[in-house]
């Protein structure tokens, strides 16, 4: 049996012929297994959706109650037989509810990891290493120049800046699902106990995190705050809001951006970021290569990102490796920026 007999990469996502389902399909399908709630992986309009309870909840928050005809929740580690193949979900450490999906038939194990990271995150279950024969990996930061900093070091940079510029408002651009809550949680870990302000677009997701028992301390919406009261405060907002008229309500705003992309200066400057914070929810180069090696997989499929470098690296190590030309996965931040533009100027 070949891996392709179980899973076939198609331009709209990986398809399991014997099980009759797709993983993270980018167009509506009859049966979808969803790794996590980010909009490039979790789309509305499928027939049946199988995902963790958190991912289903997040999809409901984003797309409304009728985002799929039927849904089914699955717990981490619980095996489920679908037409002769066995699937199970395992923590991916990416955002709340994120999972890698193991698909197994006749002893051949394939793991579709979705997006993942192998470093600590106080807002979600830690990444679980799942031994397998074929490992399907992302490569968002698949270049050796991407090695993320110790996240608490970056949080320290932000707090130092807040102390040095107490009359300014620090606006931290962060993806509204996952990154924003992680930044808040890490600020709390670092001992910051002031009220943290939120852009309206982050309200629902953040409330959901809190309802799942993730302590985020005192939070308030910017909407209700007076301009002078925002001096010396930290506000979390979608990255696109930092380029917007919305920032005019803040006293001398200092724009920060929490993203793995901030590692590269040209990229940070392009966005006009004044304080780049290298904090990522994706594995960096070391994380990707260490994880690939640790799974024991002899074959690597790369879904999206900097495929060339990662495929080259794997090939050099004697692994079978190939890029999957899947259209539509990508950078969550860019996705979110597009969505904001389409819906107007992000006033929320």
């Amino acid at each position: 049996m070949r891996p392709e007999d179980i899973l076939v990469p198609t331009p709209s996502g990986v398809c399991c012929k014997p099980g009759g389902f797709h993983i993270d399909p980018t167009r509506p399908v009859e049966r979808a297994l969803i790794t996590h709630g980010h909009s490039d992986h979790a789309r509305a309009g499928h027939g049946e959706v199988l995902a963790t309870q958190e991912t289903l909840d997040i999809m409901r928050l984003r797309y409304g109650d009728n985002f799929a005809r039927r849904t089914q929740a699955i717990r981490y580690g619980e095996p489920l037989a679908i037409d002769g193949v066995t699937v199970s979900f395992h923590p991916a450490g990416h955002v709340l509810g994120s999972a890698q999906i193991k698909v197994e038939q006749d002893g051949l194990r394939i793991v579709a990891s979705g997006d993942y990271k192998d470093v600590a995150d106080p807002t979600c279950a830690p990444f679980e290493l799942v031994p397998c024969d074929v490992f399907i990996t992302e490569a968002t930061f698949g270049l050796p120049v991407f090695r993320h900093s110790e996240p608490l070091h970056e949080i320290g940079k932000l707090l130092k800046s807040v102390a040095l510029f107490p009359e300014r408002a620090h606006l931290v651009g962060a993806y509204s699902l996952g990154k924003a809550q992680r930044v808040i949680a890490m600020l709390r870990q670092a001992g910051y106990d002031q009220t943290i302000y939120l852009h309206g677009a982050m309200e629902k997701i953040t409330q959901y995190y809190v309802s799942r028992g993730i302590a985020l301390g005192p939070l308030e919406l910017v909407r209700g705050a007076k301009k002078p009261d925002l001096a010396g405060t930290i506000t979390l907002c979608p990255p696109s809001a930092n380029k917007d008229l919305w920032t005019r309500r803040f006293p001398d705003p200092l724009t920060c951006f929490a993203s793995g992309w901030m590692r590269v200066r040209a990229r940070a400057r392009q966005g006009g970021t004044e304080l780049p914070l290298v904090i990522s929810d994706h594995a960096d180069w070391n994380g990707l290569t260490k994880t690939i090696a640790a799974t024991g997989a002899s074959e690597i499929w790369v879904t999206h990102g900097q495929e060339d470098a990662l495929v080259h690296w794997a090939t050099q190590r004697g692994l079978k490796a190939r890029p999957l030309a899947i259209v539509g996965y990508g950078d969550e931040e860019e996705h979110e920026a597009e969505a904001q533009v389409k819906t107007g100027d992000g006033e929320a």
């Binding site: 270049l143 920032t247 470098a309 080259h312 690296w313």
Partner: protein, 561 residues
């Protein structure tokens, strides 16, 4: 090194001058000697050591990284030092004895032989993190560009002791890294360091702009006028050192030592004195255009041929010191008399006295400014960019004091151009599209960009343009928006500028100097905007002679290192 690296990192992203100052002052306050002194030296380009070449950095990474991964990475990052800093394979299990400090790096580099540099650099890179490696590589390759001038760094140091930056400038020439005596003084632990430099820079006095209506409030009897020459402002100083040696130096307006670039001028500064003047190129007694001067300023190597082809000349405006006597608190009229005597004593063709423009009423001066050729400037009238008004009783006050010196420029050049791209500004303007690229029509009836402007509009106009940009965006590239610009729809900007230069970087083949938005021409359809021919004609006029060119306040001078 880490704290210095973090500072550079912040400075590189921080657009606002005041915030840069805050960051630097905070660093100087928290960092001990001699580390902060070497940082100040690095920021003021006062460090001298052999710079590492790009080839050496490439060789270091080639020994450590897969060539395919390096090329893919370099291609993505676009900067060699940064690529190497980011992908340097520091061994997480290798514990270096200590992270190198900036002082370690500077002190080691000043004595290290060329052959030992690669191995030493590799050891440092092993011990540093990404930001530290980036700062180290920028430092050793001489590419430390974080948008901080020497003046700004000194201003930040001065703030440490609530001192005026000019007080630091006064003692600066006698100081050397790591500036222990400077910091001791700034922190109130010692007296001001004595300036033992026999030929120090004295902070320059600058003028405020004035315009015709302003003159009514001034009494012509109180002022003298002279031409404002379109060269670059300098200070020429000479003195006798403690060892009896004669020292002569040439400084830029900001105090940068540019002596090496103009050896022929140093030779004639025989009498101990400090002259404030304009650096010009004179051929056969005629003042050449600023473009000609720029050709000399841009040249790194000073050859005999360069000196012969571009003979440098000082037109003297003021005398700050003579024979060891400080004249700066004397009235201008008195300094001017002493200057005239001094130029006569010096008796060299390379230095002459700036002529006065005679007038007794404002209308006379207005007439002179309108026609310098007929009122004394003669054949050099094209090199006059306006008149300077100086109070007869004014002391020489560093900085830009109110009411003593006025500059009154000739009219700038003006064209109508069409807005093509807009970019968000920085700091307070970061939510507005406030940086504008504009173009004029070429022969093929396409708009070609000719410049970029950030200034000249009111806050209200900024809001109007911002609204126009948001409603008329046709494309986006990162922070840049392309706006609609065809013959019938678009925004015409009346752009004033100070000069034109040929430029291979622009599709139009030319670039404007100091453009600013003069007026918004909402009334004008884009097709009636100016054509490239118009600018080409202006440029040819400049190249033939002069065309109302400006002073070179912002022109780049050769670096001393």
């Amino acid at each position: 090194m880490n704290r210095f690296a973090d500072l550079l990192d912040r400075l590189a992203y921080e657009p606002a001058r005041n915030n840069k100052l805050r960051l630097m002052t905070d660093y100087f306050r928290r960092t001990e000697d001699p580390e902060r002194g070497y940082a100040l030296a690095a920021l003021t380009s006062a460090l001298s050591f052999q710079h590492a070449k790009a080839g050496m950095i490439r060789a270091l990474i080639a020994e450590r990284a897969d060539p395919v991964l390096f090329e893919l990475s370099y291609d993505y990052v676009g900067d060699l030092s940064e690529t190497v800093a980011l992908m340097w394979p520091a061994d997480p299990n290798h514990r270096p004895n200590a992270i190198p400090t900036l002082s370690d790096v500077v002190e080691t580099l000043s004595t290290l032989g060329k052959a030992q540099l690669p191995a030493q650099l590799a050891r440092w890179l092993d011990a540093l993190d990404e930001t530290g490696r980036w700062a180290l590589l920028k430092l050793v390759t001489g590419g430390l560009r974080v948008g901080v001038s020497a003046r700004l760094a000194k201003t930040a140091a001065a703030a440490l002791g609530d001192k005026d930056p000019n007080e630091v400038e006064i003692v600066w020439p006698g100081l050397a890294p790591p500036y222990l005596d400077l910091f001791a003084w700034l922190e109130g632990r010692a007296d001001a360091p004595a300036n033992r430099d026999p030929a120090p820079f004295r902070p320059a006095m600058l003028a405020h702009a004035v315009d015709e209506p302003d003159l009514a409030a001034l009494d012509p009897q109180d002022f003298v006028a002279e031409w404002k020459w379109d060269g670059t402002r300098i200070q020429a100083v000479s003195g006798i050192g403690e060892d009896g040696q004669h020292v002569a130096r040439l400084y830029s307006r900001t105090g940068e030592d540019i002596s090496k670039s103009f050896p022929e001028l140093l030779d004639v500064l025989r009498i101990p004195a400090a002259i404030d003047g304009e650096l010009l190129i004179l051929r056969d007694g005629r003042v050449q255009s600023f473009n000609v001067l720029q050709q000399r300023l841009n040249r790194k190597a000073v050859t005999a041929k360069l000196i012969a082809d571009f003979p440098a000349h000082i037109r003297a405006y003021d005398l700050l010191m003579l024979d060891g006597q400080d004249l700066r608190d004397r009235p201008f009229a008195e300094r001017r008399d002493k200057l005239a005597d001094f130029i006569e004593r010096l008796n060299t063709p390379r230095i002459d006295l700036s002529a006065l423009v005679l007038f007794s009423t404002w209308p006379e001066l207005i007439a002179a400014r309108a026609d310098p050729a007929q009122t004394g400037a003669g054949e050099d009238a094209e090199a006059v960019e306006g008149v300077m008004l100086k109070r007869r009783d004014a002391a020489y006050v560093p900085g830009r004091p109110k009411g003593l010196w006025w500059k009154w420029k000739r009219d700038p050049m003006i064209v109508d151009a069409v807005l093509m791209y807009a970019q968000r500004g920085h700091g307070k303007r970061s939510s507005f599209y406030s940086d504008y690229t504009f173009g004029v029509w070429n022969a093929a009836n396409e708009l070609v960009p000719v410049g970029k402007a950030y200034f000249g509009f009111t806050d209200e106009e900024l809001k109007q343009i911002d609204r126009f940009v948001r409603r008329n965006t046709v494309d986006r590239f990162g922070p840049v928006r392309e706006v609609v610009h065809d013959g019938d729809t678009g925004l015409v900007l009346e752009v004033a500028f100070e000069g034109l230069q040929r430029s291979s970087r622009h599709k139009s083949g030319l670039a404007m100097r100091f453009p600013r938005i003069n007026r918004l021409r909402w009334d004008k359809p884009p097709r009636e905007a100016d054509r490239l021919d118009t600018l080409e004609t202006m440029l040819q006029r400049i190249e033939r002679g002069r065309g109302g060119q400006p002073a070179a306040a912002n022109a780049s001078l050769p670096k001393p290192h």
